[in-house]
């Protein structure tokens, strides 16, 4: 499985490392043409305003919507989750508007409030070490969205069909089980195509 990581800005190398530990092949994606060569796409952490601007500039908005419409899986972490959301609280314009959820940016506060913790995630048997950095939260989801984990009653991992989103950074630890989960989504999608 070739898994692309959108490489406009942010923690690209870490995702490639995790996906390769999970048994996939990681590819840095800088142009829309490269979407043809991959079976799944990761939208990494970074600054969502920067990533969103560059996505618009280079035609990624329509291209990734099309990619997802074709059933190929997309996984957004932190800024990537913001980019996936249909609705954003505050002034930022929504970007891909693919996932039926409302997201609040910097929901835990500033960097000094950033933290790591053990998190139970549906589909993963023991807790995952989750690193939250100026992290967003999923404030509300539609009926078609499955909540995979919560932290203090707030939604931090969710899945809607071929779309997966986490408000924390699974790529900053050596635990690649969420990447393995995503890789399996890509395998299933490819088997159904």
């Amino acid at each position: 499985m070739n898994i692309g990581v959108l490489a406009l800005q942010g923690a690209v190398a870490e995702h490639i490392k995790s996906i390769e530990l999970a048994g996939g092949k990681g590819v840095a994606v800088k142009t829309v043409e490269q979407l043809q060569e991959i079976d799944g796409l990761i939208l990494p952490g970074g600054e969502s305003t920067t990533i969103g601007k560059l996505m618009r500039k280079y035609g990624f908005i329509d291209a990734i919507r099309e990619f997802a419409r074709n059933g190929k899986p997309v996984f957004g972490t932190c800024a990537g989750l913001i980019v996936l959301a249909e609705r954003l609280e505050g002034a930022e314009e929504p970007h891909l508007q693919l996932m039926n959820m409302t997201v609040a940016r910097n929901a835990f506060g500033r960097q000094r409030e950033s933290f790591e913790t053990d998190l139970d995630v549906k589909g993963i048997d023991t807790p995952l070490r989750a690193v939250f950095i100026r992290a967003p939260l999923i404030k509300e989801v539609g009926d078609n969205v499955d909540v995979l984990s919560t932290y203090k009653d707030e939604i931090v991992t969710a899945r809607q069909g071929n779309l997966l989103a986490s408000s924390y950074h699974p790529e900053l630890t050596d635990d690649y089980r969420l990447h393995e989960y995503f890789l399996n989504m890509a395998k299933e999608a490819s088997a159904n195509r």
Binding site: G46, T50, C78, Q111, I133
Partner: protein, 293 residues
């Protein structure tokens, strides 16, 4: 639940990779920087070229400026404390800034000791011009590095020298034998364990940005080509003819630093870049890179 762990502090810098961090002096400039695609802003009272021109003692910015900037942007806000000035750093932490730059651009408060950064919840970035400085800052708790370059000159040559030196030294360390590593740690004046990490991984354990002299989109792309993880632009944007255009162009050139046609396109009709200074014309006492070793 743990805050201020090294993973959380270093991770924050990882999220800045491939991005441009811009110096701003007020809320209006901060908004221009964010709209242009900056991944963070550095809130300052004066940009380095003005500090250079003004002379005298340069200190932490007025907290009003920092707070004003924090209020108007959603991207992270950084601010500078003087080298060794523990209290300025604590004050910035209490304001809630997202990153502190213990910076040679300001006049050092301590000519021997840096701040012990480990004990802070907020992460620090520090300047380095060689591998020894880089690893010493990491040992003190820095979570991110940047080249020192020569701030406020608009001249890229020093940043290039520092980046090349650091990457060259890393390659050398990779090829040393165990017994040579002990000696190299002594020569560089760094802890053996950190040097061993560089030997094994072939990289620094934290991200390393370029800073100090970036004035054009091509300068930013050059630093990425030399292995920088991202770019700080100090005086280069708001001392240019058209800050908005320069800011946008530098962001694009940093993302696509190997796409030369794109860099050519974004470099067109930018107007005049900041006026530069030839390094040999600087008096030794005016070199900021020699502060904090």
């Amino acid at each position: 639940m743990e805050t201020g762990t090294s993973r959380v502090k270093r991770g924050m810098a990882e999220m800045q990779k491939g991005g441009v961090i811009m110096d701003v002096m007020n809320a209006e400039q901060a908004k221009i920087a964010e709209a242009a695609g900056a991944t963070a802003v550095m809130a300052l009272e004066r940009v380095p070229s003005d500090i250079r021109a003004a002379g005298g003692v340069a200190r932490m910015a007025d907290p009003t400026i920092v707070e004003e900037v924090m209020k108007v942007v959603s991207i992270p806000v950084m601010a500078k404390a003087r080298i060794g000035h523990y209290v300025e750093a604590k004050v910035l932490e209490s304001l809630g800034v997202d990153y502190i730059d213990e910076s040679e651009v300001l006049t050092p408060a301590d000519d021997i000791f840096h701040i012990s950064k480990e004990e802070f919840t907020v992460p620090f970035v520090c300047g380095a011009k060689d591998l020894g400085e880089a690893l010493r800052r990491i040992q003190e708790g820095a979570s991110m590095l940047r080249t020192k370059g020569e701030p406020g000159t608009g001249n890229i040559v020093e940043a290039v020298r520092h980046m090349r030196l650091i990457t060259g030294q890393i390659r050398k360390v990779q090829n040393l034998s165990k017994d040579e590593l002990y000696h190299e740690a002594k020569t560089l004046g760094v802890p053996y364990d950190l040097l061993l990490g560089v030997h094994e991984t072939g990289r620094l354990p934290v991200v390393n940005f370029a800073a100090g002299g970036v004035a054009t989109p091509s300068d930013a792309a050059l630093m990425m080509h030399l292995g920088a993880d991202g770019v700080f632009v100090g005086s280069g944007i708001f001392k240019s003819d058209s800050p908005e255009k320069f800011a946008r162009a530098i962001v694009e050139a940093t993302t696509h630093y190997t796409d030369y046609e794109l860099i050519a396109r974004v470099s067109k009709n930018l107007g005049t870049a900041m006026k530069g200074i030839e390094i040999s014309k600087l008096d030794r006492s005016e070199r900021m890179q020699d502060r904090g070793l």
